[in-house]
Amino acid sequence: MARVVKAEHLSKVYRMGQVDVEALHDVSLALEEGELIAIMGPSGSGKSTLMHLIGCLDQPTSGELIVNGEKVSQLNDRELARLRGRAIGFVFQTFNLIPRVNALTNVLMPMGFTHLLPPREREERARSLLEQVGLGSRLKHMPSELSGGERQRVAIARALANDPKLILADEPTGNLDTKSGAQIMELFDQLNERGHTIVVVTHDPNIAQHAQRIVHLLDGRVQDASEVSLGIS
């Protein structure tokens, strides 16, 4: 199986005023295609930082990171944006839809950045993605007219817009009731079965149960060494 993400000895240091804060310390991690893994840890453990690095929104201070075969440290802003657009789909805790355009346009937006499909075919794809997440009848609804669970499903459809290798979900059920949360996780399971590689950041053990592998973070370090070595092998 191809390796989607390979991280070796990653560390990330933030400078807060006069002091350096080490958010990640020597983290090594590998993600195989088709995996669904969970990253767990209390707040401040560095899970968000790790996700931002894997999502190419930020660069590591040291260590090497390869995403979808590309060395992240060697990419400029433009190439990073391209990689984010084509290889990664984000799902956020707060959904982060554009509030003033409808569901369909929200899903269309990432396709506009990548130009993978000719403009005429984009709307067709956006429709079918929204149908896949069960919102075929809600295409023209504004985000404010949708429930939390529905909004998150629009967000998932948007994450799938450019058919990325990797889906990064940051507390995807954090703002949802149990039932909607379960539906979302069910959706992730389906996507995973279809071959999508998914990383879910969570502190909810019930959510983490869906994962084939759990990476525990504490104070910027990977806690369970056995899991990590298993990943790298």
Binding site: G55, L57, D58, R82, R84, G85, L97, M109, F113
Partner: protein
Amino acid sequence: MGFRETLRLSWSNIRNHKLRNSLAVLSVTIGIAAVIAVITMTTGLQSALLNTLTRDLLHADTISVTVKGNEGAFGSAQVFSQRDVKHLETLKGVKAVDVIGRVRAASLYFEGHRLLSPVVQVTTDPKFLPLDAGRPIAGPGEIVIGAGIAQSICEQQEQAAQGAKADTAKIKESCKRATQSKLLADRILGQPLRMKYINAQKKIQQSQLQIVGLIKNAQFLPHQTAYVDPSYHSDTEELGGQAVPVYTALLVKVANISKLASVKQEIEGYFDRFSSDARKLLGTGTEINVHTLANIVDEIKKNFGQVTGFLGAIAVVALLVGMIGVMNVMLITVKERTREIGIMKATGATNGNVLQLFLTEAVLICLIGAFLGVLAGMGLSVLFIKLTMMLFSGLQSIPFVFVPIWYAIAILTGLVVGVVSGVYPAWSAARTNPIKALRYE
């Protein structure tokens, strides 16, 4: 991101904040309207002034050809022939050629008394002379007179009325004042004058004339000149073995006022050659003056240019304020949509995409503003013209001038203002850190 998608996203935001963006549009509208109004009005005023001064009063479309040292009342040396006229008529840009001649040895008498030193001339263009009162001469038996002659007639009338005890100095003073008022016209128009002159048969002849018009009392018009029908003209010169009529001056009218200089050059060229009758008669020693008002027209245009520039500068300040208004709105918009910028970046937007989006929005606001500004500016100038005409009655009407090139410039300015006011906000949006942006509340 494609242009249409960018446009759609920008437009959806503009629509989303109707009041705020309408005010931003308005601020640009006011600036552009001010500029367009200033330009339309000054162009209209300039055109009105040029019309009054040059076409009616100064005859700026007319080039006068005279013999040097002989310009006074268009002089007495008669050297220009009909052949010269015919040739000038064939020059490019020439609309018509008229002549001014002098009635040979003419003297004028009012009620039996000879008037001092009037010069009696003829012209084939009766409309050439601006009149204060009455009408142009329509044929033989009629005469229009200058202010100096009118004053002499007035003095004689007063002398006759007051008899021997008249105060000559007082009469002179009151008649001089009268030439500046319309009162004189009532006394003079319709009065008979007798003209003694030498006719074509070289005989002294007398004619009864009726005064039909008073020549405008202006600095540049000779006061002691009177005009009669061309049939009284009789001066000839021997040219090519026969006697041809000759005149003191030529009046060349150009079709287009901007062609004054080139036509002037051609006329000068013609009279430099011995093929022209005037040069043949004068020989090489005497210069022929070809005079245009191109300088005055240029001067007027230059002055209006300065006024336009000055008023325009004030209008540009308004535009600058508008620009700051748009910039302010754009900065607020960028701040407000920080999170959205983060989302876009996370889903693959490059800095360029984000820049383009916000720049498009600013340009859109300014283009709408510019378009409305052009319309408002046109409306404003119509209003201003009406107001001016109302306040200062008796003004010559100020035309409303279409200045399409300026409308294009205004729209282009809108584009530039949009880019200038949008570039900083858009740039700051583009370089927003996506992680911070996603966390932004």
